[in-house]
């Protein structure tokens, strides 16, 4: 059982890594012709604005401030939650993780609430015409991860030492016992599934937003 869980885990990690590398290869080896447009602003000049757009999801704000609020809060809280999870995979735990740890419960609650907020806004206020099944699956999965994570903290506390031993075993390639707990099983299984469904826009969108910023700012007419 122990070995099977480790095997499945490493298989998922390998598939995810291979998928990301393959995507990068496809992008780098694409040979289609690109328009040569000299009037677009050089990327370096528009970079600060582009980075701001990436960090604050500026393009979404311009399109829909209501959705932007939920999405930005969600992305930031997800990032913090993931960062705090580093405590399970590092030893010694970096001090920055300790600094944020007191906010972990609050951030988890905010993350789940923001997902609910996004759904409510989309369904009730914006009467969204396009529903992506993939997006719904992802949102449900992240919601499940968030709820199960919070439940392990407040409702059904699990042996955190046992979890850390298991996760450190994953990192150091020294298999340890899987914590036999229903909530943790759901949480970890959901995480593996999330990796398999990992949305590629996490990697490509930040780059494209920066390019779009260069397009938006140029050309200066009459130059």
């Amino acid at each position: 059982m122990k070995l099977l869980i480790y095997l499945v885990s490493y298989l998922v990690f390998t598939v995810t890594l291979a998928r990301v590398c393959w995507k990068a290869y496809l992008i780098m080896t694409a040979t289609g012709r690109k328009a040569l447009y000299e009037k677009n602003r050089p990327l370096l000049i528009s970079l600060p604005k582009g980075l701001l757009d990436v960090v604050f999801l500026g393009r979404l704000f311009r399109s829909s401030p209501l959705i932007w609020f939920g999405e930005w809060v969600f992305h930031v809280s997800l990032l913090i939650v993931l960062f705090i999870h580093l405590r399970f995979f590092t030893y010694p735990v970096p001090s920055a993780v300790f600094c944020l740890y007191p906010f972990s419960s609050f951030t988890g609650i905010v993350m789940v609430t923001s997902l609910v907020y996004i759904m409510v806004i989309k369904v009730l206020f914006k009467k969204v015409e396009y529903v992506s099944r993939y997006n719904l699956l992802l949102i449900s999965l992240i919601g499940l991860l968030g709820v199960s994570g919070l439940a392990m903290r407040y409702i059904h506390r699990i042996d955190i030492i046992q979890v850390k031993v298991f996760t450190m075993g994953l990192v150091t390639f020294r298999p340890e016992e899987f914590p036999l707990d229903i909530l943790f099983s759901v949480h970890y299984g959901g995480f593996l599934l999330f990796l398999l469904l990992l949305p590629a826009h996490l990697f490509t969108a930040p780059v494209l937003i920066t390019f779009a910023s260069a397009r938006d700012r140029g050309p200066e007419e009459g130059d």
């Binding site: 694409a30 393009r59 396009y130 992506s132 779009a212």
Partner: protein
């Protein structure tokens, strides 16, 4: 062919764009085709999702390791229809939170469908034949390219640093617009040259936008060489589609930077106009300006047309709700207007409705396709507004000798050289 790679035509940026769509659906609120069809199956995120499936079937790691999957012909045909129903206005990209440059992406996907024998659709298939035989996509006689609209009093130079390119839609379907261009250039004292009716052929945009690239290299080389022989340093054009083609794609098909600069007519005349402001005649009324998609989102030109309009004293310039780079398509774009005629008319009427509702006296355009389509959309429609091209309006405002010449010439009279 259904098993062939789906990424061959894409640039690295475009491969990334296919994956960058989060399918949030924000773009649907701005898509003109969605506005009139309410069909999410042909929406931008759905098209990208389907194309992602194509790539997954032929180019994913699994497909490369264990063999490519065959794609259902019906699915390919449905995708082709969806991709050609688009007006390629690029509004979806303008509002895309991930910054996908859809105005460039859709034509590339169309190219992929053409390679597979699925596109283009309907009368779009006649475009290469028409251009080959008549020099224009409409199949109209080459000899009539400048007939009926070119002012007789305008003298063209054999060689000059400035050349004017009229374009096919302007010359055959929006004559008052190209007439306005020539009148304004001449009235402002610009000495310019033009290619004759055999030399000035289609810029290649209709071929590019429908994904039919075979003739493009020849056409571009022929046109660029002709302008180079005439000593041209600035090529001036008023058609936003031609301008996009010249500025962005001619260098690609020519094989390097062009030996001249390409400018929109408003950009070119603005500095001259600033000096000549005293010569403008006062006009009156409320005008509303529609930004053509390929001029605003395509070329980023939104300021120059407004400055030109504001230089005309007496007129009040008002804006459409969606203006500048956020403008709404007129329905004519992407060569979809001939195949999906009803969509185009319905989209065009949205702009007419808004202009009428805002109490504008004249709807000012700066694109021959918008000009032709909006005039067509008004036929048999209860709401009416006078449609005028920006250069047509400016020609009207040019006072003194120039204005007189416009009037005389429009009566078919004087041949007095300017």
């Amino acid at each position: 062919m259904p098993k062939e790679s789906f990424v061959k035509e894409l640039s690295p940026e475009q491969v990334a764009e296919i994956d960058a769509c989060t399918q949030c659906g924000e773009c649907l609120r701005y898509c003109p085709v969605q506005e009139v069809t309410k069909n999410p199956d042909i929406s931008p995120p759905e098209k990208l999702r389907v194309y992602r499936e194509f790539i997954k079937a032929t180019d994913s790691l699994k497909a490369r390791l264990f063999g490519r999957k065959e794609i259902d012909r019906r699915l390919l045909e449905e995708f082709t229809k969806a991709i050609y129903e688009c007006t390629t206005c690029g509004a979806c990209g303008q509002f895309c939170p991930s910054g996908i440059n859809t105005q460039r992406l859709w034509p590339t996907l169309r190219r992929e469908m053409v390679k597979r024998g699925l596109g283009p659709l309907g009368s779009q298939r006649e475009i290469p034949y028409n251009i080959e035989n008549t020099g224009n996509p409409y199949g109209k006689p080459m000899s009539e390219r400048f007939k009926g609209w070119f002012p007789e009093w305008v003298n063209l130079k054999d060689t000059a640093p400035v050349a004017y390119y009229a374009g096919c839609t302007g010359a055959y379907e929006a004559e008052p617009m190209v007439r306005g261009d020539v009148v304004v250039l001449a009235s402002l004292g610009v000495e310019f040259t033009m290619l004759n009716n055999e030399e000035e052929v289609c810029c290649g945009f209709p071929l590019f936008i429908t994904g039919q690239h075979d003739m493009l290299q020849d056409i571009v080389k022929r046109l660029v060489d002709s302008y180079q022989r005439r000593g041209v340093q600035y090529l001036v054009c008023s058609c936003p589609c031609c301008l996009n083609m010249m500025a962005k794609d001619w260098p690609v098909f020519y094989g390097g930077p062009l030996p001249f600069k390409v400018l929109h007519i408003t950009e070119f005349i603005l500095p001259i106009l600033r000096k000549a402001r005293t010569r403008l005649r006062r006009l009156s009324g409320r005008i509303i300006y529609h930004d053509p998609c390929y001029l605003s989102r395509g070329m980023g030109i939104v300021r120059a047309p407004r400055e030109v309009l504001r230089s005309i004293e007496g007129v009040e310039l008002i804006e459409l709700d969606r203006h500048e780079k956020n403008s709404r398509c007129c329905g004519a774009g992407g060569a979809a207007r001939k195949v999906f005629h009803e969509n185009a008319i319905a989209i065009g009427r949205l702009t007419i409705d808004e202009a009428v509702r805002k109490g504008a006296d004249r709807l000012v355009l700066s694109c021959p396709a918008c000009y032709a389509k909006l005039n067509e959309a008004m036929e048999g429609y209860e709401r009416k507004i006078k449609i005028v091209d920006i250069m047509e309006l400016l020609a009207e405002a040019l006072s003194g000798a120039a204005a007189e010449m416009v009037t005389t010439s429009s009566r078919g009279g004087a041949d007095e050289p300017f």
